[in-house]
């Protein structure tokens, strides 16, 4: 049977395994739900301070709670996109299970994709919780095409997953100290407009620092999703962020796969594939 035909079954194997491991820590699951609710409630009260003070030029920020909740939900997803690939392989290395997984007729890219599948499912659930709690407890309204928002979400996640592949390559060769995770994690939260409009950065920090946001794929992903969900824009209005994300993808996908191939070859040559 070809590897491609077996891919869904293998992804299912990893998801089933991770689900079982996840439910073996039930308390943690309920605590995380509680923490999402706490964050949403806190943001609701903070948003009340700004009620009526929002500058009309920041159209996506008329309802700050809606902007924060979309920002956090999407940031969660983006973080999974670029960190779970590296984390999954690192975790298998540290547990000592990578060797036994690699002894099955499965290739390393499949291991990485499949072992991060649960992360995406879990993130989808918790990201949805931010929006769900906002809607049912605090009356946040979303409009526009959910389908278009999902397209943006998937596209941005794939772009960030390319950075995740670079990050996984780094973890495979250097074993620790993943700079992509650090820069992109902190960078996306600060520069891509999760908590405040990116225009404010340019106003207060000057164009040099402010323009960093233009280099981050998350900025375009968030902008697109908010334009759709908060401003109710259609496809014609969001072509700029969509096109920019496609350009990122065209450059990053082949580059990250090339780097990853080299990293795997190097680790096998050094015999360090299973070391951590």
């Amino acid at each position: 049977m070809s590897s491609l035909r077996l891919l869904p079954r293998r992804i299912f194997a990893f998801v089933a395994r991770d689900f079982r491991l996840f439910v073996s820590y039930r308390m943690q699951f309920f605590l995380r739900i509680l923490s999402v609710l706490t964050v949403v409630t806190t943001l609701f009260f903070i948003s009340k301070i700004f009620a009526g003070f929002t500058d009309p030029q920041y159209s996506q920020w008329r309802d700050p709670l809606a902007s924060w909740l979309t920002g956090l939900a999407v940031l969660n997803y983006f973080m999974a996109g670029f960190s779970s690939l590296a984390t999954s392989i690192r975790q298998e290395q540290m547990q000592g299970t990578l060797e036994s997984v690699l002894l099955t007729p499965i290739n390393l890219p499949t291991v990485i994709v499949a072992s991060s599948a649960w992360d995406f499912l879990e993130t989808t659930f918790f990201s949805f919780l931010y929006l769900f709690f906002g809607r049912i407890f605090f009356g946040v309204h979303y409009r526009g095409s959910f389908f278009l928002a999902v397209v943006f979400l998937l596209l941005t996640t794939v772009v960030l997953a390319c950075l995740g592949i670079l990050s996984a390559s780094f973890a495979m060769v250097f074993k620790r100290g993943d700079p992509f995770g650090i820069f992109l994690g902190a960078g996306s939260a600060l520069f891509s407009g999760v908590f405040f409009p990116t225009q404010l950065l340019r106003e207060y920090a000057g164009p040099k620092l402010g323009n960093i946001s233009l280099l981050l794929p998350a900025t375009y992903g968030l902008d697109g999703i908010r334009q759709v969900l908060i401003e109710g824009h259609g496809l014609r209005d969001v072509t700029r962020p969509l096109f920019t994300l496609l350009c990122f993808l065209a450059v990053l996908l082949p580059f990250s796969l090339w780097v990853f191939g080299r990293a795997v070859r190097r680790a096998k040559r050094e015999g360090s594939l299973i070391q951590y």
Binding site: R9, Q95, E99, P105, K268
Partner: protein, 318 residues
Amino acid sequence: MIVSAKPAISIRNLSKTYPAPFRRVRAFFRRPAKEPVEALRDISFAVETGEIFGLIGRNGAGKTTLTKIVATLVQPTTGSVSVHGDDSVLRDEQVRRQIGLATAEERSFYWRLTAEQNLMFFARLHGLSDRLAKQRMKELFAKLELEEVAKRRFGEMSTGNKQRLAVARAMLAKPPVLLLDEPTRSLDPLAAARMRELIRSLAAQDPPVTILLTSHNLAEVETLCARVAIISRGRIRAIDTPSDLRSKTSKLEQVHITISGLNGTNERVSFTRQTGDTQLDTRLRELQQRGARIIDVETEKGSLLDALEMYESKDETR
């Protein structure tokens, strides 16, 4: 050395040197760099289909590196390994379809999952359907006496059961080649005997399973293996049948004859002879002529340990 037309495992001029990591970067920053480590040098041998082949040597001799190269986890520096004709580098996935590796490494399982859940995960990775996987697991749990612990978390299992589960995992997809690394290390004597019986039966079944056995238990290697390779400092020093390896160590053997009838009590007569000479025949005739009844004759040849020591000391004096 036997090299047949279609061996199960074929190793040709295999060498492995682990490169020193980031040597150029360290040199640039004037930091002392580690030296590359030569783990294997110019190894060639073949393992026939259905053969139980032993690999013995001291810690760090290169057994694990060799096993990992066969298992496709490490790439050779030069030379090649093929399993039933598939190259371990060029067709690594096909090679992995044909091998099962069981090590005594406990960390290779998920500790919070049960024995059953662990095996199901690996069965799915092998592409087995859930129905087939369950059927296979049932067979293996029965064969390896693991039925009682099937629903127990791996972390709560005894060391012996963990080891048996590792063997069960290696056999899940019915691979034609098994790489067993000390399969009886943590087993009690009875369980170890049953494991040896299982290994023997696997090699004898139709179609036969080829087994590459790595062990420090020389008695076990001697009992199970048709041929044994002695590996020392990354080089194969000898490959032969256990008895021929022993006789290579020394041409002398100790003979112990237990007799009764001379003084009314059992006595033991011992002497050293050249292997295959006529001394034993002469002594037995003498004893019988004096009215003794021969109860038992034991011979003590050089052991595998002697052979191992001999090659090690040769290497040390090089």
